[in-house]
Amino acid sequence: MPATTSATPAAYKTRFGSLKHFEKGHVEPIDDDVRHYAFSNCFEIASISKPYEKVVFGQNQIYVLETLRAEGASPWYTCAHDEFALVMDGDVEVHLVQLDASQTVADKDKNGAVLVKGEPKGRKMGWMKLSRGHQGLLPKNTAYQFRNAGEPGVIVLQSCKGELSVEKWADICQSH
């Protein structure tokens, strides 16, 4: 028994952000330090990032969310744990290689992705093409590479903080 008052269903417009067009919100402090809210925007971060710079914009102990500007081809990465890539703008291909044991991360407990040394060796697992709103699995101990051919895109990566993670909170967060 919906209490809706409209006779016809109304058309809604879902607002997405993009590198080319985003509107950023803000913190309105009443009696607190705005820096405690670590307020940033993934599109703004990506707009000032180098391609595939892994900018941490969320962290909780060992865990991070990173914003990556997807532009051209990334290096090949590998990681001792699963990661996930959520595309927020643009089209991004993810290529996967079942990495030879010699190239995987030796320390099984190591957090975060590392660069694969040299070309990845192993069986090709296949690839996927992610568009806005698509989330892809980056399985542990594989090698993966992001490829972007068109307009630069934006990836949000669910991972752990690692040696490639870049922290520049003061540059990305509202500070007053």
């Binding site: 028994m1 919906p2 209490a3 809706t4 269903p9 058309a11 809604y12 417009k13 879902t14 607002r15 997405f16 952000g17 985003f22 509107e23 950023k24 919100g25 913190v27 309105e28 402090p29 009443i30 009696d31 607190d32 405690h36 809210y37 670590a38 307020f39 940033s40 925007n41 993934c42 599109f43 914009f57 969320g58 909780n60 102990q61 865990y63 969310l65 744990h81 699963d82 996930f84 927020m88 996967l96 069986r123 090709k124 697992m125 296949g126 996927m128 093409k129 992610l130 568009s131 806005r132 709103g133 698509h134 989330q135 892809g136 699995l137 594989t142 669910q158 752990c160 922290e167 003061a170």
Partner: protein, 335 residues
């Protein structure tokens, strides 16, 4: 310590002859609903009666979340007076204990219950007090009125299971994608969200590893509001996206830092002091915005249009002990 069966015993009256609802009691707290309100009663330490009145719709929406989330992390404030604190094997129920003035005045009451006992009472109360025309998980424009006298039940809607992926939505043996066939049509407010799945080109044998899914499409088919699912898991890092419309029915005070990534549309947050409720900040979040909720705050969101919010939680079991020992930072990052 009582036996589990004893713990789960619910103390309820016969239905009221006119209103049709049962009264409940739990420890020293009494609960009564009428056509419009829920009345909570308790006694102060010096024996004086105290009471608190909540709108029945607001109360049932809050109760629904507290039950569905298993009392969640930390504080589930139903409003500025009443709520629960999760200790994971037991739960505190309180009135006034996290209201600065009521606490200072010493008229508050906090009692601890085994989780099984409070859960059984809350589930019975939710079922008895929710009429067939009201879905406390739905947005106000999608359901009927919570008011009036007892008129049937809505048990199926209030016992929806929380959807929790173990590794990633859509993997074999993990949480299924949502579809019309599975009873999850696209919500009216997300009719414009593309439903196409990612292109997958696995080599033979890698079909379950070359995996991706349309998260926005998945969320566009959420049948509930303010009820996070797990969609992907990295160790104890949980992506808990949810679709939000109207007001978060609780004021949540997490025991740990919690992060919000606004994926579409916008939500406005009121943030206050966790212990007293006094206002501390407003956080206006638009598509692409990220913000942390410091662990010292309580927060309540307002979503003008159904929106997609990624709640990002650290579910590490050791964190509970670190919090107890004061080793867990209250603020997300120093800079």
């Amino acid at each position: 310590m009582n036996a589990p069966a004893e713990l789960a015993k619910v103390i309820a009256s016969q239905p009221d002859a006119t209103l049709g609802y049962k009264d409940f009691s739990l420890g020293s707290f009494s609960f009564h609903r009428d056509e419009y309100f829920v009345h909570i009663g308790w006694k102060t330490r010096d024996g004086r009666p105290m009471s608190h009145t909540m709108d029945a719709g607001s109360y049932l929406r809050a109760l629904m979340r507290d039950v569905a989330w298993g009392f969640f992390y930390g504080w589930v404030n139903f409003d500025d007076v009443f709520g629960t604190v999760n200790h994971y094997e037991s739960v505190d129920l309180y009135a006034g204990s996290f209201n600065g003035t009521m606490k200072d005045a010493g008229i508050d009451l906090l009692e601890n219950f085994p989780t099984a006992q409070i859960r059984a009472t809350f589930e019975a109360m939710l079922d008895d007090w929710t009429n067939e025309s009201f879905d406390p998980f739905a947005a106000p424009q999608e359901t009927g009125s919570p008011y009036g006298r007892k008129n049937g039940n809505n048990t199926a809607k209030i016992t929806r299971a929380r959807e929790l992926a173990k590794r990633c939505v859509g993997l074999k043996g993990d949480l299924d994608l949502r579809s019309d066939e599975r009873g999850a049509p696209v919500n009216r407010a997300f009719a414009d969200v593309p439903q196409g799945q990612p292109e997958l080109h696995p080599e033979p044998g890698f079909e379950n590893e070359v995996h991706a899914f349309n998260l926005f499409g998945f969320l566009s088919r959420s049948q509930v509001t303010w009820n996070p699912s797990f969609t992907s898991v990295v160790k104890h890092s949980y992506m808990c996206p949810t679709t939000e419309e109207h007001i978060l029915p609780i004021i949540h005070g997490n025991d740990r830092v919690e992060w919000f990534f606004q994926m579409t549309d916008e939500i406005h947050w009121d943030c206050g002091d966790k212990n007293t409720g006094r206002p501390m900040a407003r956080v206006i979040m638009k598509a692409g915005d990220m913000a942390a909720m410091p662990a010292y705050c309580r927060h309540q969101g307002f979503s003008p249009k159904r929106s997609m919010l990624l709640v990002w939680e650290n579910g590490s079991p050791s964190l509970v002990y670190e919090i107890q020992k004061g080793e867990s930072p209250e603020i997300p990052v120093q800079f």
